[in-house]
């Protein structure tokens, strides 16, 4: 007997051509797709009952020079098989001027996640209503969560350079 994940995987593979799907353990389905099909895949999954966007994450694979976006979906369902499933939809985009369409039309709660990724990774989400700063006060040349942003060096350069007031007085 096939479990929910496998059934879903077959359904997905039937509907979409250029995606890879993989059921790694009993309640996990990983879907890899291109960046322009993400929205359709997500809305397909949404319609099949996986209506809870738990997380949009991003991994900076600096060696491959890509940013990997991970959309994690689960289901609001009292049906145990469905509720157990975690679906990870992954897509890769370039590190230079990364851009992607927003998924707010599909999942309303994606809004703060995309704002956060815009701020911390510099990904531009097209069609997002407010890509204003969320967490940060200072401006950073390299978005701080990218792998090439060295926070220790940054701390040394910025915070450690500020003198104690006593030192400053002594100086003058």
């Amino acid at each position: 007997m096939k479990n929910t994940g496998q059934l879903l995987k077959e359904k997905l593979l039937l509907s979409f051509e250029d995606i890879q799907a993989e059921v790694s353990d009993e309640h996990r389905l990983t879907v890899n797709c291109r960046k322009d099909t993400v929205i359709t895949v997500l809305s397909f999954l949404n319609n099949s009952g996986y209506d809870h966007l738990a997380l949009i994450s991003c991994v900076d694979w600096i060696k491959d020079n890509v940013l990997e976006l991970v959309y994690i979906l689960t289901a609001y369902a009292e049906d145990k098989g469905k509720a157990k499933m975690n679906i990870l939809v992954k897509t890769r985009i370039t590190r230079e001027k990364p851009g992607l369409h927003t998924v707010i039309p599909v999942f309303e709660n994606a809004e703060p996640y995309e704002r956060e990724l815009h701020e911390l990774y510099g990904i531009h989400f097209m069609g997002h209503p407010r890509l204003t700063p969320l967490f940060l006060e200072r401006e950073y040349k390299i978005p701080p969560f990218r792998k090439d942003f060295d926070t220790r060096k940054y701390v040394q350069e910025v915070f450690d350079q500020i003198p104690f007031v006593e030192d400053k007085k002594a100086e003058k």
Binding site: F135, L136, E137, R138, Y140, P144, F149, T151, R152, Y154, V155, V158, F159, D160, I162, P163, F164, V165, K168, K169
Partner: protein, 192 residues
Amino acid sequence: MDRNNLGKWLKSPGKMGQKYSLHALYFCTGCGIIEIPPSITTRWDAERFGVIPVATPRQANLFLITGYVSVKTLRYIIRSYEQMPEPKFTVGFGSCPINGGMYWDSYNTIKHLDKYIPVDGWIAGCMPRPEAVFVAVTHLWTLIDKGMADGYNKYRANYQYYRENQEKILGKLEWPPLFSKNIKHEEYRTIA
């Protein structure tokens, strides 16, 4: 505790008042705030010593910086601190405001709070226990007695250096300087 020492009250009512009526500004600057409710409620009851949280900086004379200070919070801390009436006391709560503590390599927290505002006392630890608050308060009493809790005077005297440091981190501050440049004394600026 010399709260019932009438002679002292008559001699220096100001100091005694400051000691036994510490109104702490309620500002959850960091995770240290988790130990403030226990210390003001049933188990530890800080009100015994006259320490109570108050709503606005105008009514407060004690500023507990409870925990790490992110860059964004720093702006609000400075604003609140400057709005407090003198004499005012600052106590850094936890290791993080002392030297960054756990977040020594974080890109978004300032490491040494006393570079930006004067701090009269520190409570080390992560997380300090509520008792530590009382230790700090009793130390503060000693300092007030000896006239050593003078962070606000230091701030006044070195205001331009503090302001310089603040502006280095925060960019331009929206409000005009509290004390005009090079004038060490008195007079709050009037903005009309």
